[in-house]
């Protein structure tokens, strides 16, 4: 049963153009990363060396928002059209339908995100060559925790989007919620008086990625409070809580 429903959910994603648009926008990261590297590369050619941000980190919010949109739409497109009733007639066990949806969104966004991140990473390092750009001195092994944590953050955001879309039953509300978690709340946290800015910011979703990789939050905020394992647990907690709450509502509410 579960396997069949997963196959169906995968086909649902593959058979609408919005999926390809969202992934297309996410894949713009590769292009933007290449342009960025080329641009800072020419600056480095003039000045000898430069401290530029890594494109796979700088453009991460683009990846996060576009694939989180995929998560939101996976459920709201059904809730808005009534398709969810058609789906529940053929899969009356709501737990199975919900788990299949979450599983497919999770797997597709993680696969897509890691592929795009690695491609961005590889093309930018190729374009950089042996110039000193600040981000291209470390080895892939050293950068891998950051890349995987970034990929996981995209998946978590997509699942949070799925959960919030399900709970609010609205594409707009789902998107606004995701954007708040990603930009608005961390933005507010930064402007709290110290030491509360760093304390609160440590728990903000986008700041968990550097903490998992053992890096600073930012020059302004310094080191986060969380050790890597706790940051990873907090990231997963975000997805678990939203999906849990969404499933509770999905199971109880009339379709």
């Amino acid at each position: 049963m579960m396997r069949a429903v997963v196959a169906s959910e995968l086909l649902k994603l593959r058979s609408v153009t919005t999926t390809y648009r969202a992934i297309g926008v996410a894949a713009l990261m590769v292009v933007l990363g290449a342009v960025w590297t080329f641009y800072v590369g020419t600056m480095a050619d003039e000045r000898g060396s430069i401290r530029a941000a890594a494109p796979e980190q700088g453009f991460l919010p683009l990846l996060q928002t576009s694939l989180a949109l995929l998560g939101v739409l996976a459920i709201t497109s059904e809730l808005a059209t009534g398709m969810v009733r058609t789906s529940l007639v053929v899969v009356p066990r709501r737990g199975v339908l919900f788990a299949a949806k979450a599983g497919v969104v999770g797997a597709v966004t993680f696969g897509g995100a890691v592929t795009i991140l690695l491609t961005t990473y590889a093309t930018s390092r190729l374009i950089a060559g042996d110039r000193l750009l600040g981000f291209n001195q470390s080895s892939l092994a050293a950068d891998l925790p950051m890349l995987l944590a970034s990929g996981l953050s995209v998946t978590v955001l997509a699942l949070v989007g799925l959960g919030l879309g399900c709970a609010t039953r609205s594409t707009a509300a789902g998107i606004v919620s995701v954007v708040s978690l990603l930009f608005v709340l961390p933005g507010i946290a930064t402007y709290l008086p110290p030491p509360w800015n760093t304390r609160v910011a440590s728990f903000m979703l986008p700041n968990l990625v550097p903490q998992i990789a053992g890096d600073q939050l930012s020059r302004r905020l310094g080191d986060g409070l969380l050790p890597p394992w706790a940051a990873l647990a907090t990231l997963i907690f975000y997805a678990a809580v939203t999906l849990g709450a969404a499933f509770y509502l999905f199971k109880r509410r009339d379709a």
Partner: protein, 254 residues
């Protein structure tokens, strides 16, 4: 009240859909009130009532889409929620517009078929059967209501189920489509399937249904064979008007 009087006692022993004191309340609205009836196989059962009578709600309750406030509905003796491969037992068309407009007809049906391990060949077959084979690769968003009704019927037929439920399937259809649905219902019932067909128009029932369940304001008003109604009220139209006189409610059906 007219009751089933002929033949074996209402064929209750073989009923495939059973409602036991089904009640559903939405806030202040009592959409379905203590509704009990059963549907037996082998013919079309008309489910008739004015707009707002609770027909769609009853069907959603049978299919487990809405939770009853009290009472229960059983399909083949079990709650619908507990069916492992429901498409092989029950096919339902509730709302033809409940589709994702961006998906092609073929992919829409394949998405549904996959969940119950039904293959693409069956999808092609039902598309052929409902006359949508030519537009199988077209997006559903561009379909007319009539084409969407056909698509919904195709979805209901996918699992070749013994029980079929259709909620006002002729709404928005042209005369050709109405006739097509009528013939389809009759042939499905002739194959021994159970068909529950809702409508707010008695004229629709006269040509297809053998038994009729009439509801008004969420309550059962009458349960009778077409023959009984005609012998008692002369025409079905008269029967309907007489029986539902107290329960017509203004509003839009959903």
């Amino acid at each position: 009240m007219v009751r089933c009087a002929e033949g074996p006692p209402c064929r209750i022993f073989f009923s495939v859909i059973e409602l036991h004191h089904l009640t559903k309340r939405y806030g202040d609205t009592l959409a379905v009130h203590d509704l009990s009836f059963s549907v037996a196989p082998g013919h079309v059962t008309g489910f008739l009532g004015p707009n707002g009578a609770g027909k769609s709600t009853t069907m959603r309750l049978i299919l487990g889409l809405d939770a009853p406030t009290s009472g229960k509905a059983l399909v083949n003796g079990r709650p619908y929620m507990s069916l492992a491969r429901p498409m092989r037992e029950v096919g339902a068309l509730l709302d033809a517009n409940a589709v994702h407009g961006g998906r092609s007809a073929y992919n829409h049906l394949l998405c549904l078929a996959r969940t119950n391990d039904i293959g693409p060949r069956r999808v092609a077959q039902v598309l052929e059967q409902v006359g949508l084979a030519g537009v199988a690769r077209k997006r559903v968003g561009g379909f007319s209501l009539g084409m969407k009704q056909r698509l919904g019927i195709a979805a209901a037929l996918l699992g070749d189920p013994r029980v079929l439920m259709f909620d006002e399937p002729v709404n928005g259809l042209d005369p050709d489509g109405v006739r097509w649905i009528r013939d389809l219902m009759c042939s499905l019932a002739a194959e021994g399937r159970t068909v529950l067909l809702s409508s707010h128009l008695m004229s629709e029932m006269a040509l297809t249904a053998e038994r009729i369940v009439i509801v008004g304001r969420g309550r059962l008003i009458a349960e009778a064979t077409v023959a009984e109604l005609i012998s008692r009220y002369h025409t079905l139209e008269d029967a309907y008007m007489a029986l539902t006189a107290g329960s017509v409610q203004f509003g839009v059906s959903s």
